[in-house]
C-alpha cells in the first residue's frame, strides 16, 4: 500500500514538533521542579535574608548565601578579566598574524582544550596552582587559585569563537583599510575588531556561562569555606559548589535551601546573558540592519 504524500508530510511535521516541544517541556519541568523545591526556603528564611545573609549554618537554621554570591561573582569577574584580553589577543594572532603553518597546529590545540574534562583542570589546579598561590600567602585554596584555573578553562572558548568571527569579517574591509594607508594594527583594531564585535561578545557570554556554571574544578581549588572571603587569597565557595558539596546529606529546609541556591544561579545566568545581549545589540544594530 502506498501512503499518500500529504500524510507523510503531516507525519514529518508532527514528529519534528514533538521533538521540539520535548526540549521546551524538559526545560520547563526543570525550572518548575527547582522552584517548587526551593520555594519553602524563601518562605521560611525570607528572600532578603537568604540573598543577603552572610551566615550559612544549616545546623543552626541560618541560610544566607551572600558569601557564595560574592565567591561566584569574584571568580567569574577575575577569570574574565584575564581571559578576555588574553583570548582576544590570541584570536587576533591566530586570525591575522600567525602564518598558516603555526595556525594549523595552534588552532586544533585550542579546540582540544575545550574538550578536556573539568576535573582534569581541577587536578592540575590542585597540584600546581594551589601550591604556587600558597607561596604568596594563605592555604593556597583561594579565589585567586580558582580565578587562574577558570581563566584557563574559558580561554579556549573565547579564542575559538572570537577567531571565527574575526575571520568572518569580509576581506573587502581589510583591503579597503590597507588601501587607505592604514597600518596592519590600525586595520585590525579599527576595522576588523569592531566588525567582529558581535561574535567576540558572543564568545564572552559563552565564556561567562561556563565560568558561572563551573563546579568540579572550583570545588577542587577554592577551598569551599563558608566564611565571607575578605581577600583573593581567602578560600570561598561558589553557588554551584555549595549545591554539589552539601546535597549528599541535606534534608528538609537544608535541602530546599540548596534548590533555592539553584534558583539564584538560574536567575544569575539569565541576568548576565540579558545584559550582554542588550549591550551587544545596541552596538551593532545601527549597521546590522543593512547587512544582507
Amino acid at each position: 500500500m502506498k501512503i499518500p504524500h500529504h500524510l507523510t508530510d503531516k507525519f514529518a511535521k508532527y514528529t519534528v514538533l514533538v521533538c521540539a516541544a520535548s526540549s521546551v517541556i524538559i526545560l520547563a519541568a526543570i525550572t518548575v521542579f527547582i522552584v517548587l523545591q526551593g520555594m519553602p526556603t524563601f518562605q521560611k528564611v525570607g528572600v532578603f535574608d537568604f540573598l543577603f545573609g552572610t551566615e550559612w549554618r544549616p545546623t543552626y537554621d541560618k541560610y544566607g548565601i551572600l558569601a557564595m554570591i560574592v565567591g561566584s561573582t569574584a571568580v567569574t569577574i577575575g577569570a574574565l578579566a584575564q581571559a578576555i584580553p588574553l583570548g582576544i589577543a590570541c584570536a587576533i594572532l591566530l586570525a591575522e598574524v600567525a602564518p598558516n603553518r603555526i595556525r594549523s597546529f595552534l588552532r586544533p590545540a585550542v579546540e582540544l582544550l575545550v574538550g578536556i574534562p573539568s576535573v582534569i583542570y581541577g587536578l592540575i589546579g590542585m597540584v600546581l596552582i594551589v601550591p604556587a598561590v600558597r607561596h604568596i600567602g594563605g592555604s593556597g585554596f583561594s579565589i585567586l587559585a580558582a580565578c587562574l584555573v577558570l581563566t584557563a578553562m574559558v580561554l579556549p572558548t573565547i579564542i575559538s569563537i572570537s577567531e571565527d568571527s574575526i575571520r568572518a569579517v569580509p576581506h573587502a574591509y581589510k583591503e579597503g583599510a590597507l588601501a587607505l594607508g592604514a597600518t596592519r594594527w590600525q586595520t585590525i583594531s579599527r576595522v576588523l575588531l569592531p566588525s567582529a564585535r558581535s561574535g567576540i561578545i558572543a564568545s564572552i557570554v559563552l565564556g561567562m556561562g561556563r565560568a558561572v556554571g563551573e563546579t568540579m574544578a572550583m570545588i577542587m581549588v577554592i577551598g569551599n569555606a563558608i566564611a565571607f572571603p575578605k581577600s583573593p587569597l581567602d578560600p570561598a565557595r561558589t553557588l554551584t559548589g555549595n549545591i554539589a558539596v552539601e546535597i549528599n546529606y541535606a534534608t528538609g529546609t537544608h535541602e530546599s535551601a540548596l534548590f533555592a541556591t539553584g534558583i539564584v544561579l538560574l536567575i544569575f545566568i539569565i541576568v548576565l546573558n540579558t545584559i550582554t545581549t542588550v549591550v551587544l545589540r545596541r552596538g551593532i544594530q545601527k549597521h546590522a540592519e543593512h547587512l544582507t
Binding site: 573587502a172 579597503g176 588601501a179 587607505l180 592604514a182 576595522v191
Partner: protein, 271 residues
C-alpha cells in the same frame, strides 16, 4: 617573446609627464605568471584605462601600483615599478606611505560598517589628524568633490551601508580623496552599478582628472572609450596571461589599432 616585447616598447607613446612606470614587470602567484614583461608609462592628470578579457591580468597590473598584491602569500615581482621615478618595490619603501599616495577604489563598493562620516575620516584619523573642525572640513570637501554632498549632508551619522550601491561607490571614492592621494586606482568601479550610477562615476572621474592621476581597469569597452585618455590592451592566449599587447592614446587604440588582436577585441570579434 622577443618580438612581442619589442613591439610593446615600440608602440609606447611619447609622454613628458610620466607618473607611473613599469619596466619589464613580471608578477608570479606561486608558479603562475600573471604578468609578462609589462612595460608602460602612465601620464599624470589623465585617465588611463586598462582593458582586456577576464583573467588577462588587468587587476594584477593595477594592484602592482599600490602593492596590494603583497597581501597574497607567495607572490613575486620582478622588474621596475616606479612612482615619480622611484622604484616602489625597493626595501626602503614604506608601503603605508605608498598607499597614502596611491589610493584604490574596488570593484564592489566596500564602505566600512560605520557612519558615512566615520568612513570618510577613517583615513585622515589613522594618519594622525584629530582636530574635529579640520575633519568636518575634509568631510564636506571630499563629499562635494565626489558629488555626494547634497544627497547625504543631512545624514552623515547614518550607516554607510544604508546608501545605494552607486552612492556607496562614490563614498568610497570620497574616502580615498580624504587621504589626499596623488594617484587613484580603480578596479572595475562600475561593474556592480546600474547605468545611471555608472554615468555619475564617469562624470566624477572627468572632474577628478584635473587633480589626480587615474588608472582604471574596466571590461566595458564603451566606458574606456568614453572616459580615458590613454588605453592599454592586455591579452591572454591559452595559459599565457598578462601580456600587454598595445598601449597608446585612446583615440588611436579605438580607431586605428596597430595590433590585429586589439582590433579583434574592440570590434567584439572575441572576448
Amino acid at each position: 617573446m622577443e618580438v612581442t616585447l619589442n613591439k610593446n616598447i615600440e608602440s609606447l607613446p611619447y609622454l613628458d609627464n610620466v607618473k607611473l612606470r613599469t619596466r619589464m614587470a613580471n608578477l608570479y602567484y606561486n608558479k603562475f605568471q600573471a604578468l609578462r614583461n609589462v612595460t608602460l608609462e602612465i601620464p599624470s592628470h589623465a585617465i588611463t584605462a586598462i582593458i582586456g578579457p577576464s583573467g588577462c591580468g588587468k587587476s594584477s597590473l593595477l594592484r602592482l601600483f599600490n602593492r596590494m598584491n603583497d597581501l597574497i602569500p607567495n607572490t613575486r615581482v620582478t622588474g621596475d615599478i616606479e612612482l615619480d621615478g622611484k622604484n616602489i618595490y625597493e626595501k626602503s619603501i614604506d608601503v603605508v606611505d605608498l598607499r597614502k599616495r596611491v589610493g584604490m577604489v574596488f570593484q564592489k563598493p566596500n564602505p566600512f560598517p560605520m557612519s558615512i562620516y566615520d568612513n570618510i575620516v577613517f583615513g585622515p584619523k589613522q594618519h594622525g589628524r584629530t582636530n574635529r573642525n579640520e575633519l568636518n572640513k575634509i568631510v564636506e570637501n571630499v563629499l562635494r568633490k565626489s558629488a555626494l554632498w547634497d544627497e547625504v549632508k543631512d545624514k552623515l551619522e547614518q550607516s554607510a551601508l544604508a546608501l545605494s550601491g552607486g552612492q556607496q561607490q562614490r563614498l568610497c571614492i570620497a574616502r580615498v580623496l580624504a587621504v589626499e592621494p596623488e594617484v587613484i586606482l580603480m578596479d572595475e568601479p562600475c561593474s556592480a552599478l546600474d547605468p545611471v550610477a555608472t554615468l555619475k562615476i564617469e562624470d566624477l572621474m572627468r572632474t577628478l582628472r584635473e587633480i589626480y592621476t587615474i588608472v582604471i581597469v574596466t571590461h566595458n569597452m564603451q566606458q574606456a572609450a568614453r572616459v580615458s585618455d590613454m588605453a592599454a590592451f592586455m591579452m591572454m592566449a591559452g595559459d599565457r596571461a598578462g601580456e600587454l599587447v598595445e598601449y597608446g592614446h585612446t583615440s588611436q587604440i579605438f580607431t586605428n589599432p596597430r595590433d590585429k588582436r586589439t582590433e579583434d577585441y574592440i570590434t567584439g570579434r572575441f572576448g
